[in-house]
Structure formats: structure tokens, C-alpha cells
């Protein structure tokens, strides 16, 4: 037992004992994550920029803009003409752009079904919702124009009637009140969790690389010549990198919680447990790969080969719900998915009745992978290609 603790302690000391080690393994991850939090989740009142060009002289174009201004999530920015609008979209100056064509109102009154154009560089949740909102307004405008057309005869009459109806619409006598008990998870939380997971996986890889270096430089064999047993070295190494990982998670959480005062929306202890469980799985993945590929340089590269695709599949970058069905099924095999799900459950006030499932799956994954990967932690097999 003493031997195990000694090896563990030395492993921790070696990784983060020096000033450089402490900065690059503890301080830097915390800072990077803090930066990310302040970027995505810090301001809750974030507005998406929508650019527009209104070529319409009539009442309808004006009405569309006034309806969109009512929506708090959007910040409207005007562009001079269509070319400027397209250019702004390509330069990513906003999530989406709206172009109301000339003579839109006249077209509506004449029942020609004029079309509004929406531009986007990449489809995102926000841009899709925006397009839906605009088509809702435009559909209603078409109906209103048809109603006005059926009731009045002369053109001038129509125009004034149309204006009067829209005036009335803008009073919003029929509307809704939204009551929000904060039951759903916060928008930024999934992004932050996703990035944390990706980051954590990369960090764990570095600490496993350290063990690999020990093998390559035959340090492990020398350790073995001392009165320690093979399993003591294995457990010591494992506990050492595990402790480093725990410290990293703690640092990250503390940076977010106390320095940035970011409200994770779930008990910090639960978040900590979820991240720790995930870290165990990624240690398993990293050591399994290291066991399969003996050249440490290649092992590092192979890890990347695993890291990015699994993060994409597991929903670190976008919600799983938008993916096609077969990919949703494939996501079940990826630990990231279960970690994110656990965070989701915990942040919506779920209890251990629901939380046990993702935890059990993460635990199982960790157990299987660590068993396979434990070979690299032991000194008995020295077969390393330098």
C-alpha cells in the first residue's frame, strides 16, 4: 500500500509539481475554460444579429421589420443593398439575413405571391428558427392581403385598409405570457460541457503519454527492479494520473464558479462527479490506444483520430436531436453522449432515479477500457518500439 502511495505521489509531483507543470496542466486549462464560459454562457441576454435590406416602399415591408423588432432575441442591422447584404453574410456578420424585394406590398395586394429571400452561410438552429418566423409573418401577410382584397374594391381603398389592419395587428391584442420556472437546461451549458469534455479528453491523453514515456525510457523497468510488485506500479500510475485529472477538473470548476461566478445550473458536486466519471472513461480510451500502438508519437496522433469524431458524434458541438436517426443510435456508443445527458438530467433537477443510468454506462465503459488498457501501466511487457 505504501509503495502504491509513493508511486502515486511521485507521479503527481512530477506532473504538476514544477511551476511549469502547474501552469500548463492546472492554470491554463482553467483559464481556457473560463474564457470559453465568458464567451458563450456569460451573457444570458445575447442577441443574434440579423441583417436586412428593405427595398419595399409599402406598408408590408415595414410591418415585417416591426414584428421582428418585437422579438427580443434579434438585433436588426440594416445593409444598403443586396450586394452589401450578401457580403456581410459571407463575412459572418450575423446569423442570417433578410431581403424584402421591391414592390413587395404591391405584389401582395395583387395576389402575386411575392417571395422574401433569407440568406445564411451555415445552417444553425438560430437561422432555421429565424426563417420559420419570417415565413409565418409572410404567410399571415398574404392572407391579410387576400382578405382586404375580398372586402374592398378600389386600389387606394385597399391600400389604406391593408395599412389599417396591420396597424391593428401591431397592437397585439392577442398574445401570450411566458412563465419560466427555469425547468430546462441553460442554452450555453451544453456547449460548455461539450467543450469541457473535449478538453478533458485531450488533457488525459497527455498524462497517459507520460506513462508511455516511462516505458520507452525504461524507467518503468528500473522501478520494477526495486522491491515493488507489478500491480503496485500499475495502480500507482493509474491513481497518479487520476489524481492529476481530479485536480484539473476541480481547477476548471473553481475558475468558473468562483472567479467568473458562472451559474452552472446544477449542483457543483454532481457536475464534478459526471466529469470525473467521464475522465475515467477517457483514461481507459487513452491507455487502450497506448496499449495497441507502441510508438508514443503515433499514440498521440491516434488519440486525435478518436477524439474529434467521437466529440462530434456525442453531441459536443451540436445537439444530438438534430442528427439523423442512424447517427443517434451510433451516439449511444460514445461516452460524451452519456456525460452530456447526465448534465442535462442534473440541470433540470433530475434525481438519482434518472441519473444512475448514464453513470452506470460511463462506469461500465471505464471498467472495460481500463481493463484492456491496464497492460500499458504494467512494467512486465517492455516491448516498445522507440
Amino acid at each position: 500500500m505504501n509503495n502504491i502511495l509513493t508511486i502515486t505521489w511521485n507521479m503527481v509531483k512530477r506532473t504538476i509539481g514544477s511551476r511549469k507543470g502547474f501552469i500548463s496542466y492546472i492554470l491554463l486549462p482553467g483559464l481556457v475554460l473560463a474564457g470559453l464560459i465568458s464567451l458563450t454562457g456569460g451573457s444570458t441576454e445575447y442577441q443574434s444579429v440579423i441583417m436586412y435590406t428593405n427595398m419595399d416602399q409599402g406598408r408590408a415591408g415595414e410591418h415585417i421589420l416591426s414584428e421582428l423588432t418585437r422579438i427580443r432575441e434579434y438585433k436588426l442591422v440594416e445593409q444598403a443593398d443586396e450586394a452589401a447584404l450578401k457580403n456581410a453574410v459571407i463575412e459572418q456578420k450575423g446569423i442570417s439575413a433578410l431581403m424584402i424585394p421591391a414592390n413587395y406590398s404591391e405584389g401582395l395586394m395583387a395576389g402575386e405571391g411575392p417571395q422574401i429571400s433569407v440568406y445564411e452561410l451555415k445552417a444553425t438552429e438560430g437561422s432555421i428558427l429565424f426563417k420559420m418566423k419570417v415565413s409565418e409573418i409572410a404567410d399571415r401577410l398574404e392572407e391579410t392581403a387576400a382578405m382586404v382584397g375580398s372586402s374592398s374594391v378600389t386600389t387606394e381603398d385597399r391600400e389604406s385598409q391593408f395599412g389599417a389592419v396591420l396597424q391593428k395587428v401591431e397592437e397585439h391584442k392577442v398574445g401570450n405570457v411566458r412563465t419560466d420556472y427555469n425547468l430546462y437546461s441553460k442554452m450555453g451549458l451544453t456547449t460548455i460541457t461539450g467543450f469541457t469534455l473535449m478538453f478533458l479528453m485531450g488533457l488525459v491523453t497527455t498524462s497517459v503519454t507520460l506513462i508511455m514515456d516511462d516505458r520507452r525510457q525504461r524507467t518503468m523497468l528500473r522501478m520494477f527492479s526495486a522491491p515493488v510488485r507489478s500491480f503496485e506500479i500499475a495502480i500507482g500510475n493509474f491513481l497518479g494520473s487520476f489524481t492529476v485529472g481530479i485536480l484539473q477538473i476541480t481547477a476548471m470548476l473553481m475558475f468558473g464558479k468562483w472567479i467568473l461566478r458562472y451559474d452552472y445550473g446544477l449542483p457543483i458536486l454532481t457536475y464534478f462527479l459526471i466529469l470525473s466519471a467521464f475522465m475515467l472513461v477517457s483514461m481507459g480510451i487513452a491507455s487502450t490506444i497506448a496499449g495497441m500502438v507502441r510508438n508514443p508519437n503515433n499514440a498521440g496522433m491516434l488519440n486525435m483520430l478518436i477524439l474529434t469524431p467521437t466529440c462530434m458524434l456525442g453531441g459536443c458541438f451540436w445537439p444530438i436531436s438534430i442528427m439523423p436517426d442512424y447517427m443517434k443510435k451510433a451516439a449511444n456508443f460514445v461516452p460524451q453522449k452519456w456525460a452530456i445527458q447526465a448534465v442535462d438530467i442534473a440541470s433540470t433537477g433530475g434525481s438519482w432515479n434518472e441519473l444512475w443510468l448514464p453513470f452506470a454506462i460511463l462506469g461500465l465503459m471505464a471498467a472495460v477500457l481500463l481493463t484492456i488498457g491496464s497492460t500499458i501501466l504494467r512494467p512486465s511487457e517492455a516491448g516498445v518500439k522507440a
Binding site: I90, I95, Q115, V148, S152, N298, M327
Partner: protein
């Protein structure tokens, strides 16, 4: 001649390494495929997206014998709505809130006593929505009920201004074409999809990653003590260095070409109408990536730290140029502008969109300037530090 030998040897060594081949050639294709198919539901035809119905608790606050709202009832009875919304009649506000908390309902709507009456008489009428536990269900149910109220609002306005008869007179217009269309960003009418955006951003990310190979190769020689032996041969340090860089550069050019061609043939990514300029952009990007990693390799002591610095820089640059997540717009155009990716991305996007030459050139010039500065810096740092034991 020596340069040539070293380059050939470097190429041979790279192609024999299985993980290199996997990483440089397979991984980008896997990532582009994943991105393309994961987002295909969003990007392509919307019919493929199957919407799971949301369970909505409906509370009628009507007192005594008053009829519950007919408008809501008939709305919930329409076939299209039935597919998306499963209504449950609930008694009392407290019950529906506790149902929401336990996840029994995904959304709740509370109907005030005289809703129908108020609407018909042109008075203010409001429904109360209570949001549930699932963000996506909140969006779906919220949109459905918002649109319902919106329609009533327009109808009420029309009825008040034009008289109630119009509501009956106006036949639902036969839909000619959708009232909103997705505009074409490109000049010559070629289609553009999000998969193109991600293909470009991934291509750039992998060209940047090639810098890691430079670090590995430079440090390997030192760590396995072969640099010492090579130095004892009639080979100049600079020849060895240039040979290595040329070898890796060639592989990276090949990598870029493979990514572009295979995404074009397999996934149908359209890379625009200027293959020459596209190649130039890639080569400038490769020069920038290589020289950047040479600088890093010169000043760091171990291969591991150099590699992790390159990896971090690559991820940060791809991330802040908006290539991974959608970022706040202000961020992309302020911090993002300091990344190499930003300029290359803008240039490639404009090629994909068939923009005019005058819009592409400034971005390319900027990229060339960055590459030149990095090249100079790499040259100076090589002169200062050198490549030897």
C-alpha cells in the same frame, strides 16, 4: 542532391507510418462525412426531420358552467397539429406545474376564462405558456402556439377593421409557392450548402495540423540520436532541414489535394470555379503552417510540448475563426481576424460562391503577407538556433 535524398527518405518514412496515413488522409474525410451527414437534416430537405410530438398540458380556468375555449379545442383537433401536439386536459394550475416538473408534460398552456369572448369582441386576450424541461420541446410547442395566436391576432385585426364577414369570405389561398425562399449567396447560381462551409474549415484545420508532423520529424531525429550520426556525414545542417521540410510539404500538398478531390467526388462538395487560386490558397496556408511549426520547434525543448502547442494553436485558430461552433458575430470579426484560418476561409468561401476576383484578391494578399512574415521569422529563428545536437 543531398536535399533530394533526404526528402525521398522522409516521404518514404511518412508513408510507411500507418497512423500518419490514417490521420492525414482518413480522419479529415471521416470528419467531413460526419459533419455533412449529422447536419444533413438541418441543411437539406426539412421533411426528413421527424418531429417527436410534445405532450402539452392544457388548463382551462373557466369558472362554473362556462364553456372551455372552443378555439383552442378546434385548433388542437386539426390533423396537422395532432401530429405534433398531444393535449392533456388538466385541472388547476398547480397540477400542471407539478406535471411539468416531473416531466409528465413537455409544455403547458393556461387558458383564461373568457378567451374566446375577448378575441371575438376585439379585446385583449392572452394565453399563458409555461415552459417545460426540454429546450427542444419548448421551441416546438412554443412555435406551434405562437403561430396559433399570431393567426388569431391577424384575424382579429382584420375582423375589427373590415368587419367580421371577411373571415368567412376569404377562402384559404391555394399555396402557390412558399412565401420565403433561401436566397442564393453565390453570383452564378451555383448551389451552396453548409457542408461546403465545414469542408473548407476542416481542410484548413488539417493543413494547419500538418505542422505537427514537422515537429515530430525534427525532434525524432534528435531524440533517437540519429541527428548526431547524420551530422557526422557530409550533409549540411541546412540541407537536412530543407529536405525534411520539403518532404513534409509534399505530403501536405497531397493531403490537401486528396481532401478536395475525394470530398468532391464522394460527397459532392463544390469547391468553386477557380482551382488555380484554390491551390494557391492551400499552398500559402501550408507555408504558414510549416513555418509556424518550425518557429515553435526551434524554441521548445521537447517534442511533446511542441506538438501540444501546435495542436492547441490549431484548435484555437479554427475555433475563433468560427469553423467549429457558430460563435457570436462580434467575436468572429474581431479576434477571428487575427487567425490564419480567417483569411484563408474567406478566400475559399468566395471561390466556392463564385465571387468576383476583386473580392478574393485582398484576402489572398493578406494570407500571403502572413505567410511571408512567418517565413521570415522562421528563417531568422533557424539562423539563430539552427538544427543540430
Amino acid at each position: 542532391m543531398n536535399i533530394w535524398t533526404i526528402m525521398i527518405y522522409e516521404l518514404r518514412r511518412l508513408f510507411r507510418s500507418r497512423s500518419m496515413v490514417l490521420n492525414q488522409f482518413l480522419l479529415p474525410l471521416v470528419l467531413i462525412f460526419l459533419l455533412g451527414s449529422a447536419l444533413s437534416g438541418v441543411v437539406g430537405i426539412e421533411e426528413t426531420l421527424k418531429i417527436e410530438p410534445v405532450r402539452v398540458g392544457v388548463v382551462s380556468l373557466s369558472e362554473g358552467d362556462a364553456e372551455p375555449s372552443n378555439m383552442i379545442k378546434s385548433f388542437l383537433d386539426t390533423p396537422e397539429i395532432k401530429e405534433i401536439i398531444i393535449p392533456f386536459e388538466v385541472n388547476g394550475r398547480e397540477n400542471v406545474v407539478s406535471g411539468l416538473r416531473s416531466g409528465k408534460y413537455g409544455y403547458a398552456v393556461i387558458v383564461p376564462p373568457d378567451f374566446d369572448q375577448n378575441v371575438l369582441s376585439g379585446k385583449t386576450a392572452e394565453l399563458e405558456f409555461i415552459m417545460g424541461k426540454e429546450s427542444s420541446e419548448n421551441v416546438i410547442a412554443g412555435t406551434v402556439f405562437d403561430n396559433f395566436l399570431n393567426r388569431i391576432n391577424y384575424n382579429q385585426a382584420a375582423a375589427v377593421t373590415l368587419g367580421p364577414a371577411v373571415l368567412l369570405a376569404a377562402a384559404p389561398s391555394a399555396d402557390l409557392k412558399p412565401s420565403v425562399m433561401l436566397g442564393k449567396l453565390s453570383e452564378e447560381g451555383s448551389t451552396y450548402t453548409a457542408s461546403q462551409f465545414y469542408a473548407a474549415s476542416m481542410l484548413l484545420m488539417f493543413l494547419l495540423y500538418s505542422g505537427m508532423t514537422v515537429c515530430t520529424s525534427l525532434f525524432n531525429e534528435r531524440e533517437s540520436r540519429t541527428l548526431f550520426r547524420i551530422n557526422s556525414m557530409p550533409v549540411k545542417g541546412s540541407q537536412l532541414f530543407i529536405g525534411k521540410i520539403l518532404g513534409i510539404g509534399l505530403v501536405t500538398i497531397l493531403q490537401g489535394a486528396v481532401i478536395i478531390l475525394i470530398t468532391h467526388w464522394l460527397f459532392g462538395v463544390d469547391w468553386g470555379n477557380r482551382p488555380g487560386l484554390l491551390a494557391l490558397t492551400c499552398i500559402l496556408m501550408i507555408i504558414a503552417a510549416m513555418t509556424l511549426s518550425i518557429i515553435v520547434a526551434m524554441f521548445l525543448k521537447t517534442a511533446a510540448s511542441a506538438r501540444s502547442l501546435i495542436a492547441t494553436l490549431t484548435v484555437i485558430m479554427t475555433f475563433s475563426s468560427g469553423g467549429m461552433f457558430p460563435l457570436p458575430d462580434s467575436w468572429v470579426n474581431s479576434v477571428g481576424a487575427f487567425t490564419i484560418n480567417h483569411w484563408a476561409m474567406q478566400a475559399i468561401l468566395r471561390m466556392i460562391l463564385h465571387s468576383e476576383l476583386s473580392q478574393i484578391i485582398p484576402k489572398l494578399l493578406m494570407l500571403a503577407l502572413i505567410s511571408f512574415v512567418l517565413f521570415l521569422a522562421a528563417f531568422i529563428s533557424y539562423r539563430k538556433v539552427g538544427y543540430h545536437e
